[in-house]
Amino acid sequence: MEVEKVSEETLKEISREMFVVRDTGVKEEGERLLELQIGPAHPGSGHMRILAWVDGDIVVRCDPDIGFVHRTIEKLSENRAYIKTIPLVERPSLLDTTPMTIGYVNAVEKLMGLEVPPRARYLRTILAEITRIASHFYGIGILSIFLGHSTGYMWAFGDREIMIELATMLTGARITYAYVIPGGVRRDMPQNFPDQLEKGLRYIERRLKEWEKIFLMNPVVERRLRDIGILKPEIARIYGVTGPNLRASGVDFDVRMAEPYEAYDEIDFMIPVAEEGDAYARGLVRFKEIEQSISIIRQALKKIPDGEIISPQISRLFNPLMKKIYSESRRVKLPSLMATLKPPKGEAVARVEAGRGEALFHIVSDGSPNPYRFRFVTPSFRNVILFKYLIPGHRIADIPAIYGSLDYFPPEADR
């Protein structure tokens, strides 16, 4: 894709023109402004602070203040073996962990030149889509409770539980799976997993119809979300917005399509795109993505080949006990060499489409057991800028509506 260079003046001009959604008649500065510090301990703020300057009920200026859940994943990883960073990268975005591990592991695999067997790639894809559904349900739940729709909140968290149970069945862990390892996956799927998965997917499909009745077609929800926080496609492009928020503005970009990783190039799916760019469209796109994820999982289950789940480059290092465990229960015990994995000198970049958007991983290796530098760009960090531009001109009550519609997850930005 060709990148267009934009000067700062143009950017400011565009900002002035584009971001004023409504002419509020309120001046930027003045005595009438009241500064509201929403958060970091406010029911509607999450782990962040939103500084809002309001005139009456209208927000004139809004600054997101992030950094309240600092984790320093990048710095920590520089003192750790490569393999030990896998559980670390899934911490920031606790709700869709697998895409993050896939991204990191892909970068490590690129560094080391590891080939991943097809079965492992399909398993990764299935788990990534399961976590995507769970993540979208989480986002929808938060949007619902921000609107005061407690039924939506409880339903979303209840439905999310189905996907989490399925993922638990596959990986053995509830949230932080660390299922993806360099060269493959940690274990094969259990015998009854496809049946259970199909059952779960059918349940979700049935629920989506009920969701449509109670949430999407709810007149109050429509009035709260329609024409709120309109993000124009050109602005979305300039500011590097990503994920469903970008696609809700009519930009058809998805890493799974643009730069397929894992098994996505062998699966037929479409990317839901909405034109309006408002809060309702962002919610709608996530619902449509859930439908697409269901279809991806079904296809992947149908197409999944038999065979190894770990690269032969790693499995030949197995000792007899590991081989026995692998052949009997299809579980991978990593050889001790992995603890002091020394990839050759070089750099590797990998990007993935996580639930909230594109995540980018950049590893610089100097040949030692620890990465020399690990840089990790999360989707929420790229989307947080929207608070500054979407909220002004709206009312205080729209702050949670826009926040929820962005599916912003504060810890993900503070990595």
């Binding site: 009241l34 509201l36 406010h42 029911p43 509607g44 309001v54 009920d57 619902s144 409770i145 921000f146 609107l147 005061g148 729709h149 407690s150 039924t151 939506g152 909140y153 409880m154 339903w155 209840g158 109670i214 709810n218 109050v220 929800v221 009035r223 709260r224 009312r395 205080i396 009550a397 729209d398 702050i399 949670p400 509506a401």
Partner: protein, 345 residues
């Protein structure tokens, strides 16, 4: 009539009034109604939302103990007064709001042939006037808290209450206009000879019901206490028992407004006509009226499971553009009906 208890003789009227104020529509039933209402709200919402919580504490009695537990917790929690708050208004405002929400009980008749403790020929007006005072103290509570969120929350409450109380009063008075009386007991009596208020003027019934939903902070109009937007509205700084009281006011108001609505629109204790003596009338009449009011209250709390909340400007616009117009239409409708009824009679 005098009731003789040993050496003391008590006037019968005193016993009636005591019964009225402290037991039947009064404090005891009010407290039970509020507790059951909150319980029902939890159960209904829990049923729709697939929650397990409301069943957790006392499974055998449907989780009702949870409310008692909450009440105890609120009662023993430390009550913190913010340093910069205006102490006296801060402390008295919720109490006065509560008082003005309860006082109408003394004016509302509950059974056929039995007058309320304070019986005047313009009960209806007095009840409306007393109910109209309560919001002032809610606003005072918000302003005295010295908190920006409370302040904004109280301003929202002012806007909203003004835009919904006026349509409510107009639509109630339009029924009074049909029957040409302001006496609540007589209103019910006249409905028995003609038709229920809601049937004579359905527009007024709809407008008044929407207004009740807003005045008592039910969904989709639970805007002044919007948690995700402004924490708890005017009550952000209240803790402990005062928080419990602030929470309870909207339920008490719902009870009072439902009683009023039942009398004006749903024929009060009709179809029961009385004539079973004092005890029979009191018990059956009030059971009928409370049953009708309970259905109203249950519908009101059920809406929590369906709707999110409106934005403040949308709710105000709805109030002035739709509900207010509806109430004006109901006034005109009442003029026509009252003319026709006058000719029939």
């Amino acid at each position: 009539m005098m009731v003789v208890l040993g050496p003391i003789s008590i006037p019968g009227r005193f016993i009636y009034d005591f019964f009225h104020v402290f037991i039947l529509p009064g404090f005891l039933v009010l407290l039970i109604a509020v507790i059951l209402l909150i319980w029902a709200e939890r159960k209904i919402a829990g049923l729709v939302q697939l929650r397990y919580g409301p069943l957790y504490v006392s499974r055998r009695i449907g989780g009702a103990l949870q409310l008692v537990a909450d009440l105890i917790r609120y009662s023993f929690q430390e009550f913190i007064i913010p340093e910069r708050a205006d102490r006296i208004p801060f402390l008295t405002a919720p109490a006065l709001a509560l008082l003005f929400a309860i006082v109408p009980i003394a004016f509302i008749p509950i059974a056929p042939g039995i007058a309320p403790p304070i019986n005047t020929s313009s009960n209806l007006l007095i009840v409306l006037a007393v109910l109209a005072v309560a919001p002032i103290y809610v606003v005072l509570a918000g302003i005295a808290s010295d908190n920006k969120f409370s302040f904004i929350g109280s301003l929202r409450e002012v806007f909203l209450i003004i835009s919904y109380e006026i349509p409510f009063f107009i639509s109630i008075l339009s029924i009074a206009m049909i029957f040409r009386t302001l006496d609540l007991s007589e209103l019910v009596y006249l409905q028995s000879s003609l038709l229920w208020g809601a049937l004579l003027n359905p527009v007024a019934a709809i407008a008044a019901y929407i207004a009740i939903l807003r005045i008592t902070s039910r969904f989709p109009f639970e805007i002044s206490e919007a948690e995700s937007e402004i924490v708890m509205g005017p009550y952000t700084e209240y803790s402990g028992l005062m928080y419990g009281v602030s929470m309870g006011i909207s339920y008490i108001k719902l009870y009072i407004y439902s009683l009023l609505y039942t009398i004006v629109f749903l024929g009060g204790w009709l179809p029961f006509q009385g004539g079973m003596g004092f005890v029979g009338d009191y018990i059956i009449g009030s059971l009928v009226i409370i049953a009708k009011a309970s259905i109203l209250m249950l519908i009101s709390v059920f809406l929590r499971a369906v709707y999110p909340r409106y934005r403040v400007d949308q709710a105000i616009r709805l109030g002035w553009s739709t509900v207010f117009i509806l109430s004006i239409v109901s006034l005109i409708w009442s003029l026509v009906v009252s003319y026709l009824v006058g000719r029939w009679l």
